[in-house]
């Protein structure tokens, strides 16, 4: 039975709808994982030398012992955020003649197939079987290995169990995060040290190897608790990753824009009621911090704004480029509905412009705080802002009419390459390169400020031509709307 389930999972993976378009992305991800695994393997075998050179003079075993629980503490936090719950795939099996215990067994086995479970083994086991074995003999090496494997299992099922509980009780996530933050703070203020604790635990294991059996016991207990919880709660309604509450319904501010405002409000709802666009927007806010990387004192003093323009374009237009690059695709699932409805497409496109302008303006206001570092930054940013709202939006929307891939809204944005095609990468190039191209001749001619002025001016001129641009995008859109709709239908 288990084999049949796994066989189905395998088929589901290979027959997944998005596979065709993203095979390159998958190969890329695969290579990344392989690279990381190779790295882990290398580190695993070379741990002795690495510790020796990083902490010269320190006892290798001491560092290693301190590292084990530290690693698993971080591992646990990572799992809480990144590891997926294998749940929804069981729906078609629930009504069939399959005992519940087998479905639970499948869920548990399935959960073991995670890269998270591979890394610690590759990282620690080589060291345990070589260095520890040489130093303390096979028994203690075995106990070390057993501890590592058990901790891995423990983390795996504990994280899943807590995640499942949080579906029921959202408050729990704050308790867990609070506890993690508490431990982190204690560690930071050197009140409680995980590594010291880890050290103490494993020095006991070296003296009394039997103590290590605590870890497999813990792992078994968590596995059992998790399995029991699943058996008692095997209702998809309850296992689903949290029923979403209705959020933010009205945007009275947008009401004054008439139909354009209504369409913009519709899109805002789309953003805030789905995981992926929401995380795309949150991600674009995180990029506000880019300034700290690019706005360097020496660059400011020398009046070389090239890289700063890049960063400023990216920040002030982050929502435009990150959200906008999949434009129309967000609405892929109901695109036919938009087409058949009495939507004025001129307004439809104007609504996108409106949204871009509002979001870019807000972000520009936020990043204006960088102006406290230097007034030059303000100049660069406003030039970039005018470029973004004036011309950047046009470029993005033009390429959007060439995007035939819809976006699955329910998935999160991180490491998600669904709907990403070559056009997305191509589109970002002119968008980012154009401001640099405009600016560069002035830089070479030794009048960088004129370059900024020119960039801003081009943006403003383009902004004043918006009516023309709307017609232009509309024409492009009408040319390809059947192809867009057909593409969305295929994938959604």
């Amino acid at each position: 039975m288990l084999l049949i389930f796994l066989n189905h999972q395998w088929k589901a993976f290979w027959r997944s709808k998005n596979k065709g378009g993203t095979i390159a992305a998958q190969i890329f991800m695969g290579l990344m994982v392989l690279y990381l695994l190779a790295l882990a393997l290398f580190v695993g075998f070379m741990l002795k030398h690495i510790v020796g050179s990083l902490f010269p003079g320190k006892d290798v075993m001491l560092v290693f012992n301190g590292f084990i629980l530290y690693y698993f503490a971080i591992d646990f936090v990572m799992r809480m955020q990144l590891q997926d719950l294998p749940t929804l795939s069981i729906v078609p099996y629930l009504h069939l003649n399959i005992p519940r215990s087998k479905i639970v067994g499948f869920l548990n086995v399935r959960a073991a197939f995670s890269a998270f479970n591979l890394f610690p083994l590759i990282l620690f086991l080589p060291f345990c079987s070589t260095y520890v074995a040489q130093l303390y003999g096979p028994l203690i090496a075995t106990m070390y290995s057993l501890s590592v494997i058990s901790l891995c299992v423990f983390n795996n099922y504990a994280a899943l169990y807590i995640k499942r509980l949080t579906i029921y009780n959202t408050g729990l996530i704050f308790i867990v995060m609070g506890a993690v933050a508490g431990v982190a703070l204690l560690e930071y203020f050197k009140i409680f040290s995980i590594s010291a604790f880890s050290n103490r635990v494993f020095s006991v294991v070296i003296l009394y190897p039997v103590v290590a059996l605590v870890f497999p016991l813990m792992a078994t207990a968590v596995f059992w608790i998790n399995a029991r919880y699943l058996r008692n709660n095997l209702y998809t309604e309850e296992l689903r990753s949290g029923e979403e509450k209705k959020v933010s319904t009205d945007y009275p501010f947008l009401g004054r824009f008439g139909e354009i405002g209504t369409l913009a409000a519709l899109e805002l709802k789309l953003i805030f009621r789905h995981k992926r666009p929401r995380s795309a927007v949150i991600m674009s806010l995180v990029f506000v911090l880019y300034g700290f990387l690019f706005y360097k004192r020496e660059v400011l003093d020398k009046d070389v704004f090239g890289m700063m323009i890049f960063a400023a374009t990216f920040m002030t237009g982050s929502s435009i480029s990150i959200y906008g690059q999949f434009m129309f695709g967000w609405q892929g699932a109901h695109f036919d509905g938009i087409l058949v409805n009495k939507t004025n497409f001129r307004n439809f496109i104007k609504a996108k412009f409106l949204l871009f302008t509002i979001s870019s303006t807000c972000i520009t206001l936020i990043v204006s705080l960088y102006g406290l570092m230097s007034w030059k930054i303000l100049m660069v940013q406003f030039a970039a802002y005018f470029y973004n709202v004036g011309l950047g939006t046009v470029i993005i929307l033009y390429f959007a009419t060439r995007n035939y891939k819809s976006i699955d809204l329910s998935k999160s944005a991180g490491f998600n390459y669904q709907g990403v095609g070559a056009s997305q990468f191509v589109l970002l190039l002119p968008y980012f390169l154009l401001p640099l191209l405009i600016y560069l001749p002035f830089q070479l001619a030794g009048v960088p400020y004129w370059g900024l002025a020119c960039l801003g001016l081009i943006g403003l001129i383009s902004l004043s031509m918006r009516r023309f641009w709307v017609e232009f995008i509309l024409k492009e859109f009408n040319k390809r709307k059947y192809k867009i709709a057909a593409g969305f239908r295929e994938l959604s």
Binding site: H8, K11, H95, Y235
Partner: protein, 236 residues
């Protein structure tokens, strides 16, 4: 009694979606569940199939609580919606999988499917298509045929006639009738098509806002009575 429901309740927020103090289904009975949208038909089915946890009460299938054991799965087959299908399999793969669960050999399954060739109308088997790429009507056919293949004593279908073409609707009705007579299979069907329900079923249960408001044997007046009920809703 193949099903015995006592004091069954499901509440979402402040709304009681299903509230059935008592309901029983005898072996071999064909029951039609009718009621407007939101009457609780599908929710009731889901609780019978242990897909939703009731807030109160229980469903006994041959004297065993469905939430407590798996024995009822041996003789119960169901098809409520496309979520029941494993949509990345081809139809054959799906049938073989279901057959395997009931210890039917692949040869047996393929042989069994032969009798449904007419029902499938040449659109299901050997098409090299995944179930997800079928039209809704054809997905429906796969689900229903997979249910029938399990030789159930209790068959639960949610709006089986929806999305089916008229010819297939008639075929499905004759299949259900013959199975009832030949194998004494109990059937629970929900439908919005009063003609079909009164044609196939020998007992009708009328649900409104989660409550059973009528439960009666079918006779020649049933169709008219049901139509009168639904029309009276219109006037309110």
């Amino acid at each position: 009694m193949i099903l015995e429901i006592t004091n069954l309740k499901k509440i979402y927020g402040s709304r009681t979606v299903v509230n059935v103090p008592y309901l029983s289904v005898n072996e071999g009975e064909t029951i039609g569940l009718v009621g407007n949208n939101g009457a609780g038909k599908t929710t009731l089915f889901r609780m019978i199939l242990d897909l939703i946890r009731p807030d109160d009460g229980q469903v006994l299938s041959r004297e065993e609580n469905v939430a407590a054991g798996d024995r009822w799965k041996d003789y119960t087959a169901s098809y409520l919606d496309e979520g029941f299908l494993i949509d990345y399999l081809t139809a054959e793969e799906y049938f073989l999988f279901i057959g395997g669960l009931h210890n039917l050999s692949p040869a047996h399954v393929l042989d069994y499917l032969k009798q449904y060739e007419e029902f499938f109308n040449g659109e299901i088997l050997n098409r090299g298509k995944y179930i997800r790429d079928f039209s809704k009507g054809n997905q429906n056919k796969v689900g229903i045929a997979a249910g029938l293949m399990q030789h159930p004593d209790l068959l639960i279908l949610d709006e089986p006639f929806a999305n089916l073409d008229p010819t297939t609707q008639i075929r499905l009705k004759s299949i259900l009738k013959s199975l009832k007579h030949n194998r004494n299979m109990a059937t629970l069907i929900s439908s919005h098509d009063l003609n079909h329900v009164t044609d196939v079923c020998d007992r009708i249960i009328l649900l409104e806002k989660g409550q059973v408001i009528k439960d009666f044997r079918k006779d020649e007046n049933t169709l008219r009575e049901l139509e009168a009920y639904f029309r009276s809703n219109l006037l309110d």
